[in-house]
């Protein structure tokens, strides 16, 4: 148990420190990289909870794909940071108050009598050959197949909506349709005009 506790507290400390770093560093690239670090430590914590599949998905999806894209965007955009940070201290007391209230509320719920360890004991650890991924796959495609398909529909709608809202056929574009380009005939472009021969004025 001691070993797990050490890991838990180490990871938690790194997570909190890196999360703080995300919002305090001036350089957005550092912030993005620290977000990667916090995702990875978070995945570590999930591994402790025996949620292996989720932990790996977090690393693959968020660290591998989302954050890399994010870094690209951050590096490509020329963001004026001083403008973004304007009024930070002015709003800090208000934002801080809200954050404190939220922390208070969450701790009332989680530390109180309702969701404490007596009320919700930690589940028994599974056997070594227990496969989290297999169980998840089984549930998704059997019991939760309806919800799973609906989630797929949701993604389809997001795709349709994104295309409907952003695909524009601009009138003034200068792109040439390759099919037309290939099919072009000599007569389409070349006009042979017969002209009477003119005498040279010498």
């Amino acid at each position: 148990m001691i070993f797990q506790d050490i890991i838990f507290y180490t990871f938690s400390a790194i997570l909190i420190a890196s999360a703080l770093g995300v919002i305090t560093f001036r350089n957005p690239v550092y912030s993005a990289l620290l977000l990667v670090l916090s995702f990875i430590t978070c995945a570590g914590l999930w591994l402790l909870l025996e949620a292996e599949f989720l932990a790996i998905a977090l690393v693959l999806v968020y660290v591998g794909a989302v954050m890399v894209l994010f870094l690209f965007v951050v590096m490509m955009l020329d963001i004026n940071l001083d403008q973004l940070r304007e009024g930070f201290w002015k709003w800090f007391p208000f934002g801080g108050l809200i954050a404190l209230v939220m922390v208070g509320e969450i701790s009332i719920v989680l530390m109180g009598k309702y969701f404490g360890l007596d009320e919700m004991p930690s589940p028994k650890p599974h056997a070594a050959d227990y496969s989290n991924t297999k169980e998840l796959g089984r549930l998704i495609y059997t019991e939760y197949v309806y919800a799973f398909e609906l989630a797929a529909v949701l993604l389809l709608i997001a795709m349709v909506a994104a295309i409907a809202l952003t695909l524009r056929h601009r009138e003034d574009k200068k792109i040439v349709d390759p099919a037309k380009q290939v099919n072009v005939q000599k007569k389409d472009r070349l006009r042979i005009v017969s002209m009477p021969v003119e005498k040279k004025n010498s």
Binding site: R138, V153, I157, V160, A161, L165
Partner: protein, 481 residues
């Protein structure tokens, strides 16, 4: 562990709908801009096909499938049939409008059908997960529909507000659901009801969850004080989309409330009754009073919606079958009136002209006496003047409230609808006693004409003979409880 494949038959209309949306989307790619009517007809055929499937599986039994995530009962079938009818009417009304404004694109139809699918899922959901997913399918399609006129600043702004506030509301709802899950240990609606009946240790957690769920629901219903998005969205969206947002999703919202508050949490009625009383009174007050100050008719109707949602909530407060069926009756009446009213607004629009202001109704009786008369019927009905359906709907709800012992609430409701009568009657005054600003003739296609006449007369006829519709409402509720 062996697994039995679920029974797909009860969900046949949903499956058909999903397949057909994909067909509509693909078919639309092959037809050109000049033959868009193919997409339109295919969409109508889809709705008709769904109606046939739902109607053929109409029964009094409550069938659960997909591991208790999907429920097919009389209430679901009734609400779904009405949703198809409403969506179909919306498409007929808005066809010319969207064609004139260059929005007649395949996405309009596919997103409308997706939204309809979302409503069907919500209506038939018996699991918090499917309730939420259905809601998101509906909302996501609606956000995109509002923003479809993307070069218009006001549409984009409306879509942005709708999206941000909608996401916030979904967050509320999810938080509430997670609390209830924490307290009862289940997400399945009937299991939750059972767990609460057997007694839950953490009653406070349940109540906290309930507060968030009620807040989320009132966001979606646009009940005050969570109504801020409605006026902007109603005004900013293209009128055809406003018509859609204002009509069919109300059935889904009714189904949502029935599944979540009634079937799942009816044991906590004493807790949510008080919340609904506050929401209802605030909605009626803010809706009716703010509507007076509006000069934009779509904004005015948005506030009118808010007040009507307050009335609808009154139906739930009594927490018995009579109250629910009067609420169902109210929704049906409200959707009929909304359809007619927005159809009238679109009828005043011409190519290149948006009828947005109440003054656009000036002198309508001199331009076309018959349409002015239908508008008169609609406004009387919205104001709740007998013998229109709107009067009977209000009466039924008030009866339920009085029976539940909230006489003061009924008095408040009547007072506010009296205030509300002012702005409905103002439109009638504009139509009959003012000179028209233009003499442009009102041209309509035959299908719109027939539907509009049927719509207007239904408001009158169903108001005089409400028993049949009331009977259907009561039957649907009683068979599903």
């Amino acid at each position: 562990m062996s697994f039995m494949p679920p029974d797909f038959a009860p969900a046949s209309s949903e499956i058909f709908m999903l397949i057909m949306v994909c067909v509509v989307m693909l078919a639309d790619l092959t037809v050109g801009q000049n033959r868009r009517y193919v997409t339109y007809l295919l969409t109508q055929a889809t709705l008709f096909g769904c109606a046939v499937l739902t109607f053929s599986s109409f029964s009094n039994e409550v069938v659960l499938t997909f591991s208790g995530m999907f429920v097919d009962d009389t209430l679901a079938d009734t609400l779904k049939l009405m949703t198809y009818g409403t969506v179909s009417a919306v498409l007929i009304y808005s066809h010319t409008y969207i064609a004139d404004r260059g929005m007649l694109r395949g996405e309009f139809f596919s997103l409308t059908l997706f939204a309809t699918l979302g409503m069907m899922v919500m209506i038939s959901a018996s699991h918090f997960l499917t309730l939420y997913l259905g809601l998101e399918i509906l909302s996501l399609s609606l956000y995109a529909l509002v923003a479809l006129r993307r070069d218009s600043v006001i549409s984009t702004e409306a879509a942005m507000k709708f999206f941000v506030l909608g996401a916030l509301a979904s967050g509320f709802l999810l938080y509430g659901m997670s609390m209830i899950y924490g307290a009862t240990g289940s997400l399945q609606v009937t299991e939750v009801a059972k767990a609460i009946q057997n007694g839950v240790n953490a009653k406070e957690v349940l109540v906290v969850g309930l507060v968030f769920i009620v807040a989320g629901i009132s966001f979606k219903l646009s009940a005050a004080p969570f109504h801020m998005w409605a006026p902007d969205v109603y005004q900013g969206a293209p009128t055809a989309v406003t018509l859609f947002i204002g009509s069919a999703p109300k059935f889904a919202a009714f189904g949502f409330v029935m599944r979540l508050l009634i079937e799942g949490l009816e044991q906590m009625a004493s807790d949510w009754q008080g919340m609904l009383v506050i929401l209802a009174v605030m909605s009626m007050a803010i809706g009716n009073i703010a509507a007076i100050a509006q000069s934009n008719i779509k904004r005015m109707l948005a506030y009118s919606t808010i007040s009507h949602m307050g009335f609808l909530l009154l139906g739930f407060i009594s927490a018995d079958a009579n109250g629910y069926s009067s609420a169902l009756f109210y929704v049906i009446a409200y959707v009929l009136m909304t359809l007619g009213t927005f159809a009238m607004i679109m009828l005043l629009c011409r190519n290149g002209f948006e009828a947005e202001n109440i003054s656009d109704f000036k002198g309508l009786s001199k331009r076309n006496a018959w349409y002015a008369f239908i508008t008169l019927l609609l406004m009387f009905s919205l104001a709740g003047i007998p013998p229109m359906i709107g009067f009977y709907a209000k009466l039924a709800v008030l009866q339920a409230v009085v029976n539940a012992g909230f006489v003061w609430l009924a008095v408040v409701a009547v007072l506010f609808s009296l205030i509300g009568a002012f702005y409905y009657l103002r439109i009638i005054k504009f139509m009959y006693f003012d000179e028209p600003e233009t003499n442009e003739p009102i041209l309509l296609n035959n299908d719109v004409k027939i539907l509009l006449n049927a719509n207007g007369l239904a408001i009158l006829v169903l108001g005089i003979f409400p028993q049949a519709l009331m009977g259907i409402s009561l039957y649907a509720i009683q068979n599903s409880m």
